[in-house]
Symmetry: C2
Subunit: 137 residues, 2 copies
Amino acid sequence: MNIHSYDMVRPTVPARGLTAEACEVTAVDTARVAALRTGNLCPTDALRLGEIFAALGEPNRLRILEALARARSLCVCDLCALLELRQSNVSHQLRLLRALRLVRAERSGRNVFYSLDDSHVRGLIELGLEHVREATG
Amino acid sequence: MNIHSYDMVRPTVPARGLTAEACEVTAVDTARVAALRTGNLCPTDALRLGEIFAALGEPNRLRILEALARARSLCVCDLCALLELRQSNVSHQLRLLRALRLVRAERSGRNVFYSLDDSHVRGLIELGLEHVREATG
DNA sequence: CAGATACATGAACATTCATTCATATGACAT
DNA sequence: ATGTCATATGAATGAATGTTCATGTATCTG
Protein backbone atom coordinates (compact mmCIF):
# COMPACT_ATOMS: atom_id res chain seq x y z
CA MET A 1 0.00 0.00 0.00
CA ASN A 2 1.31 3.39 -0.92
CA ILE A 3 0.88 4.51 2.59
CA HIS A 4 3.56 7.12 2.47
CA SER A 5 1.42 9.30 0.31
CA TYR A 6 0.11 10.82 3.48
CA ASP A 7 1.12 14.22 2.33
CA MET A 8 -2.35 14.13 0.83
CA VAL A 9 -0.98 13.85 -2.66
CA ARG A 10 -2.70 10.88 -4.19
CA PRO A 11 -0.26 8.66 -6.05
CA THR A 12 -0.33 9.22 -9.79
CA VAL A 13 1.16 5.85 -10.60
CA PRO A 14 -0.75 2.64 -9.96
CA ALA A 15 0.06 1.01 -6.67
CA ARG A 16 2.69 -1.67 -6.61
CA GLY A 17 1.57 -4.79 -8.44
CA LEU A 18 -1.61 -3.25 -9.71
CA THR A 19 -0.27 -2.91 -13.19
CA ALA A 20 -2.16 -4.98 -15.71
CA GLU A 21 -0.66 -8.40 -15.93
CA ALA A 22 -1.17 -11.19 -18.38
CA CYS A 23 -3.37 -13.98 -17.18
CA GLU A 24 -1.78 -17.19 -18.28
CA VAL A 25 -4.69 -19.36 -17.31
CA THR A 26 -6.84 -21.18 -19.84
CA ALA A 27 -9.79 -22.79 -18.11
CA VAL A 28 -11.66 -19.72 -17.00
CA ASP A 29 -15.38 -19.43 -16.49
CA THR A 30 -15.46 -16.40 -18.74
CA ALA A 31 -19.11 -15.58 -18.27
CA ARG A 32 -18.85 -15.60 -14.53
CA VAL A 33 -15.73 -13.51 -14.54
CA ALA A 34 -17.34 -10.98 -16.85
CA ALA A 35 -20.39 -10.79 -14.62
CA LEU A 36 -18.22 -10.17 -11.58
CA ARG A 37 -16.29 -7.48 -13.33
CA THR A 38 -19.33 -5.25 -13.34
CA GLY A 39 -20.24 -4.19 -9.85
CA ASN A 40 -16.60 -4.07 -8.94
CA LEU A 41 -15.34 -1.91 -6.15
CA CYS A 42 -14.33 1.34 -7.81
CA PRO A 43 -10.56 1.84 -7.92
CA THR A 44 -10.34 4.94 -5.76
CA ASP A 45 -12.53 3.42 -3.08
CA ALA A 46 -10.42 0.29 -3.23
CA LEU A 47 -7.29 2.36 -2.84
CA ARG A 48 -8.59 4.29 0.12
CA LEU A 49 -9.99 1.19 1.73
CA GLY A 50 -6.64 -0.51 1.41
CA GLU A 51 -4.97 2.47 3.04
CA ILE A 52 -7.31 2.28 6.00
CA PHE A 53 -6.63 -1.37 6.57
CA ALA A 54 -2.92 -0.94 6.04
CA ALA A 55 -2.99 1.76 8.68
CA LEU A 56 -4.65 -0.63 11.10
CA GLY A 57 -2.29 -3.40 10.06
CA GLU A 58 0.76 -1.88 11.66
CA PRO A 59 1.16 -3.02 15.28
CA ASN A 60 2.10 0.33 16.74
CA ARG A 61 -0.57 2.22 14.87
CA LEU A 62 -3.10 -0.35 15.95
CA ARG A 63 -1.99 0.09 19.53
CA ILE A 64 -2.29 3.83 19.21
CA LEU A 65 -5.81 3.57 17.86
CA GLU A 66 -6.81 1.01 20.43
CA ALA A 67 -5.50 3.25 23.18
CA LEU A 68 -7.40 6.22 21.78
CA ALA A 69 -10.51 4.10 21.56
CA ARG A 70 -10.38 3.54 25.32
CA ALA A 71 -9.10 6.89 26.47
CA ARG A 72 -11.21 9.58 24.95
CA SER A 73 -8.14 11.57 24.07
CA LEU A 74 -4.44 11.45 24.77
CA CYS A 75 -1.52 13.77 24.21
CA VAL A 76 1.53 12.57 22.35
CA CYS A 77 3.69 12.18 25.40
CA ASP A 78 1.11 10.06 27.15
CA LEU A 79 0.92 7.84 24.13
CA CYS A 80 4.71 7.53 24.17
CA ALA A 81 4.69 6.57 27.80
CA LEU A 82 1.80 4.15 27.47
CA LEU A 83 3.13 2.36 24.43
CA GLU A 84 6.83 2.74 25.22
CA LEU A 85 7.65 4.23 21.87
CA ARG A 86 9.87 7.07 20.82
CA GLN A 87 8.17 10.42 20.44
CA SER A 88 9.37 10.68 16.90
CA ASN A 89 7.89 7.34 16.07
CA VAL A 90 4.51 8.19 17.56
CA SER A 91 4.39 11.52 15.78
CA HIS A 92 5.09 9.89 12.44
CA GLN A 93 2.32 7.37 12.93
CA LEU A 94 -0.08 10.05 14.06
CA ARG A 95 0.67 12.05 10.98
CA LEU A 96 -0.37 9.13 8.83
CA LEU A 97 -3.49 8.49 10.87
CA ARG A 98 -4.38 12.17 10.60
CA ALA A 99 -4.01 12.10 6.83
CA LEU A 100 -6.42 9.19 6.68
CA ARG A 101 -8.82 11.05 8.96
CA LEU A 102 -8.67 8.32 11.51
CA VAL A 103 -7.55 10.64 14.29
CA ARG A 104 -8.01 14.28 15.03
CA ALA A 105 -5.52 16.63 16.70
CA GLU A 106 -6.31 19.46 19.04
CA ARG A 107 -3.72 21.73 20.53
CA SER A 108 -3.87 22.71 24.19
CA GLY A 109 -0.93 24.81 25.26
CA ARG A 110 2.21 22.88 24.52
CA ASN A 111 0.36 19.61 24.23
CA VAL A 112 -1.49 18.20 21.30
CA PHE A 113 -4.32 15.88 22.17
CA TYR A 114 -5.39 13.20 19.77
CA SER A 115 -8.69 11.41 19.56
CA LEU A 116 -10.44 9.11 17.15
CA ASP A 117 -11.96 11.12 14.34
CA ASP A 118 -14.19 8.31 13.33
CA SER A 119 -16.79 6.13 14.90
CA HIS A 120 -15.98 3.30 12.52
CA VAL A 121 -12.50 2.64 13.85
CA ARG A 122 -13.82 1.32 17.11
CA GLY A 123 -16.17 -0.91 15.15
CA LEU A 124 -13.41 -2.20 12.94
CA ILE A 125 -11.27 -3.13 15.90
CA GLU A 126 -14.13 -4.88 17.64
CA LEU A 127 -15.17 -6.79 14.56
CA GLY A 128 -11.59 -7.82 13.96
CA LEU A 129 -11.27 -9.02 17.52
CA GLU A 130 -14.34 -11.17 17.14
CA HIS A 131 -12.72 -12.94 14.25
CA VAL A 132 -9.43 -13.36 16.05
CA ARG A 133 -11.05 -14.84 19.12
CA GLU A 134 -13.14 -17.26 17.11
CA ALA A 135 -10.30 -18.35 14.87
CA THR A 136 -7.99 -18.87 17.82
CA GLY A 137 -10.18 -21.52 19.39
CA MET B 1 3.51 -6.90 10.60
CA ASN B 2 5.23 -10.24 10.55
CA ILE B 3 2.87 -11.41 7.94
CA HIS B 4 5.21 -13.96 6.48
CA SER B 5 4.79 -16.16 9.49
CA TYR B 6 1.92 -17.78 7.70
CA ASP B 7 3.52 -21.13 8.05
CA MET B 8 1.58 -21.11 11.29
CA VAL B 9 4.72 -20.78 13.33
CA ARG B 10 4.15 -17.86 15.60
CA PRO B 11 7.17 -15.59 15.70
CA THR B 12 9.31 -16.11 18.74
CA VAL B 13 10.90 -12.71 18.58
CA PRO B 14 8.87 -9.57 19.13
CA ALA B 15 7.60 -7.97 15.97
CA ARG B 16 9.55 -5.12 14.49
CA GLY B 17 9.51 -2.08 16.69
CA LEU B 18 7.71 -3.77 19.52
CA THR B 19 10.82 -4.07 21.58
CA ALA B 20 10.73 -2.04 24.73
CA GLU B 21 11.95 1.42 24.08
CA ALA B 22 12.89 4.22 26.35
CA CYS B 23 10.34 6.95 26.73
CA GLU B 24 12.17 10.23 26.73
CA VAL B 25 9.15 12.25 27.69
CA THR B 26 8.83 14.00 31.01
CA ALA B 27 5.39 15.52 31.35
CA VAL B 28 3.31 12.40 31.48
CA ASP B 29 -0.02 12.00 33.20
CA THR B 30 1.32 8.99 35.05
CA ALA B 31 -1.90 8.05 36.77
CA ARG B 32 -3.87 8.07 33.57
CA VAL B 33 -1.26 6.06 31.72
CA ALA B 34 -1.16 3.49 34.49
CA ALA B 35 -4.93 3.20 34.44
CA LEU B 36 -4.90 2.64 30.70
CA ARG B 37 -2.23 0.02 30.96
CA THR B 38 -4.61 -2.29 32.71
CA GLY B 39 -7.34 -3.37 30.39
CA ASN B 40 -4.92 -3.38 27.54
CA LEU B 41 -5.43 -5.51 24.51
CA CYS B 42 -3.53 -8.71 25.23
CA PRO B 43 -0.38 -9.05 23.13
CA THR B 44 -1.34 -12.15 21.21
CA ASP B 45 -4.73 -10.75 20.31
CA ALA B 46 -3.07 -7.54 19.24
CA LEU B 47 -0.66 -9.48 17.07
CA ARG B 48 -3.37 -11.48 15.39
CA LEU B 49 -5.55 -8.47 14.95
CA GLY B 50 -2.71 -6.64 13.28
CA GLU B 51 -2.20 -9.57 10.95
CA ILE B 52 -5.84 -9.51 9.92
CA PHE B 53 -5.75 -5.82 9.10
CA ALA B 54 -2.41 -6.13 7.36
CA ALA B 55 -3.91 -8.86 5.23
CA LEU B 56 -6.74 -6.56 4.26
CA GLY B 57 -4.32 -3.71 3.75
CA GLU B 58 -2.72 -5.13 0.65
CA PRO B 59 -4.58 -4.05 -2.52
CA ASN B 60 -4.53 -7.40 -4.29
CA ARG B 61 -5.54 -9.34 -1.21
CA LEU B 62 -8.31 -6.87 -0.60
CA ARG B 63 -9.48 -7.34 -4.17
CA ILE B 64 -9.41 -11.09 -3.75
CA LEU B 65 -11.49 -10.90 -0.61
CA GLU B 66 -13.89 -8.43 -2.11
CA ALA B 67 -14.34 -10.68 -5.12
CA LEU B 68 -14.97 -13.68 -2.89
CA ALA B 69 -17.45 -11.65 -0.89
CA ARG B 70 -19.54 -11.13 -4.01
CA ALA B 71 -19.06 -14.46 -5.73
CA ARG B 72 -19.79 -17.21 -3.28
CA SER B 73 -16.70 -19.08 -4.34
CA LEU B 74 -14.09 -18.87 -7.07
CA CYS B 75 -11.30 -21.09 -8.30
CA VAL B 76 -7.80 -19.77 -8.54
CA CYS B 77 -7.82 -19.37 -12.29
CA ASP B 78 -11.03 -17.35 -12.23
CA LEU B 79 -9.48 -15.08 -9.63
CA CYS B 80 -6.45 -14.67 -11.86
CA ALA B 81 -8.62 -13.77 -14.82
CA LEU B 82 -10.85 -11.43 -12.86
CA LEU B 83 -8.06 -9.54 -11.16
CA GLU B 84 -5.50 -9.84 -13.93
CA LEU B 85 -2.85 -11.25 -11.69
CA ARG B 86 -0.34 -14.02 -12.14
CA GLN B 87 -1.38 -17.39 -10.85
CA SER B 88 1.65 -17.57 -8.65
CA ASN B 89 0.81 -14.25 -7.13
CA VAL B 90 -2.76 -15.22 -6.37
CA SER B 91 -1.72 -18.53 -4.85
CA HIS B 92 0.73 -16.82 -2.55
CA GLN B 93 -1.90 -14.38 -1.34
CA LEU B 94 -4.41 -17.15 -0.86
CA ARG B 95 -1.94 -19.06 1.20
CA LEU B 96 -1.63 -16.14 3.55
CA LEU B 97 -5.38 -15.64 3.73
CA ARG B 98 -5.81 -19.33 4.45
CA ALA B 99 -3.32 -19.19 7.28
CA LEU B 100 -5.30 -16.36 8.83
CA ARG B 101 -8.52 -18.33 8.36
CA LEU B 102 -9.95 -15.63 6.21
CA VAL B 103 -10.58 -17.95 3.28
CA ARG B 104 -11.26 -21.63 2.94
CA ALA B 105 -10.13 -23.93 0.14
CA GLU B 106 -12.03 -26.83 -1.32
CA ARG B 107 -10.70 -29.05 -4.04
CA SER B 108 -12.90 -30.11 -6.94
CA GLY B 109 -11.01 -32.13 -9.49
CA ARG B 110 -8.10 -30.10 -10.70
CA ASN B 111 -9.56 -26.89 -9.41
CA VAL B 112 -9.44 -25.46 -5.95
CA PHE B 113 -12.33 -23.24 -5.01
CA TYR B 114 -11.91 -20.55 -2.43
CA SER B 115 -14.54 -18.87 -0.36
CA LEU B 116 -14.64 -16.58 2.63
CA ASP B 117 -14.16 -18.59 5.79
CA ASP B 118 -15.49 -15.84 7.93
CA SER B 119 -18.59 -13.77 8.20
CA HIS B 120 -16.64 -10.89 9.67
CA VAL B 121 -14.62 -10.13 6.58
CA ARG B 122 -17.63 -8.89 4.69
CA GLY B 123 -18.47 -6.71 7.67
CA LEU B 124 -14.98 -5.31 7.89
CA ILE B 125 -15.00 -4.35 4.25
CA GLU B 126 -18.40 -2.72 4.51
CA LEU B 127 -17.50 -0.80 7.63
CA GLY B 128 -14.28 0.34 6.05
CA LEU B 129 -16.13 1.53 2.99
CA GLU B 130 -18.48 3.57 5.11
CA HIS B 131 -15.55 5.43 6.53
CA VAL B 132 -13.94 5.93 3.15
CA ARG B 133 -17.09 7.31 1.62
CA GLU B 134 -17.70 9.68 4.49
CA ALA B 135 -14.13 10.90 4.67
CA THR B 136 -13.97 11.46 0.95
CA GLY B 137 -16.75 14.02 1.01
C1' DC C 1 14.86 37.55 24.92
C1' DA C 2 16.73 33.00 26.39
C1' DG C 3 15.76 28.56 27.76
C1' DA C 4 12.86 24.69 28.22
C1' DT C 5 9.17 21.68 26.94
C1' DA C 6 6.09 19.26 23.53
C1' DC C 7 5.58 18.01 19.16
C1' DA C 8 6.65 17.72 13.98
C1' DT C 9 9.43 16.58 10.17
C1' DG C 10 13.30 15.26 6.81
C1' DA C 11 16.69 12.05 5.62
C1' DA C 12 18.89 7.70 6.19
C1' DC C 13 18.83 3.07 7.28
C1' DA C 14 17.20 -1.47 7.91
C1' DT C 15 13.74 -4.58 7.35
C1' DT C 16 9.62 -6.39 5.47
C1' DC C 17 7.07 -7.95 1.92
C1' DA C 18 4.81 -8.30 -2.80
C1' DT C 19 5.87 -10.06 -7.07
C1' DT C 20 8.15 -12.93 -10.28
C1' DC C 21 10.51 -16.99 -12.21
C1' DA C 22 11.32 -21.62 -11.96
C1' DT C 23 9.82 -25.74 -10.40
C1' DA C 24 7.13 -29.13 -7.76
C1' DT C 25 2.76 -31.54 -6.64
C1' DG C 26 -1.74 -33.32 -7.67
C1' DA C 27 -5.54 -34.69 -10.69
C1' DC C 28 -7.34 -36.27 -14.84
C1' DA C 29 -7.12 -38.19 -19.66
C1' DT C 30 -5.21 -41.17 -23.16
C1' DA D 1 3.14 -44.48 -17.62
C1' DT D 2 3.02 -40.02 -20.09
C1' DG D 3 1.30 -35.70 -20.86
C1' DT D 4 -1.42 -31.81 -19.72
C1' DC D 5 -3.90 -28.74 -16.82
C1' DA D 6 -4.59 -26.40 -12.21
C1' DT D 7 -2.45 -25.08 -8.23
C1' DA D 8 1.32 -24.69 -4.71
C1' DT D 9 5.74 -23.34 -3.22
C1' DG D 10 10.85 -21.87 -2.75
C1' DA D 11 14.17 -18.51 -3.75
C1' DA D 12 15.41 -14.12 -5.42
C1' DT D 13 14.71 -9.36 -6.05
C1' DG D 14 13.13 -4.82 -6.00
C1' DA D 15 10.17 -1.62 -3.88
C1' DA D 16 7.71 0.04 0.22
C1' DT D 17 7.86 1.52 4.82
C1' DG D 18 8.77 1.50 9.99
C1' DT D 19 12.14 3.32 13.02
C1' DT D 20 15.68 6.30 14.38
C1' DC D 21 18.65 10.45 14.64
C1' DA D 22 19.04 15.11 14.09
C1' DT D 23 16.82 19.13 13.78
C1' DG D 24 12.98 22.45 13.19
C1' DT D 25 8.75 24.81 14.95
C1' DA D 26 5.52 26.29 18.44
C1' DT D 27 4.24 27.45 23.18
C1' DC D 28 5.11 28.66 27.68
C1' DT D 29 8.20 30.53 31.65
C1' DG D 30 11.39 33.44 33.87
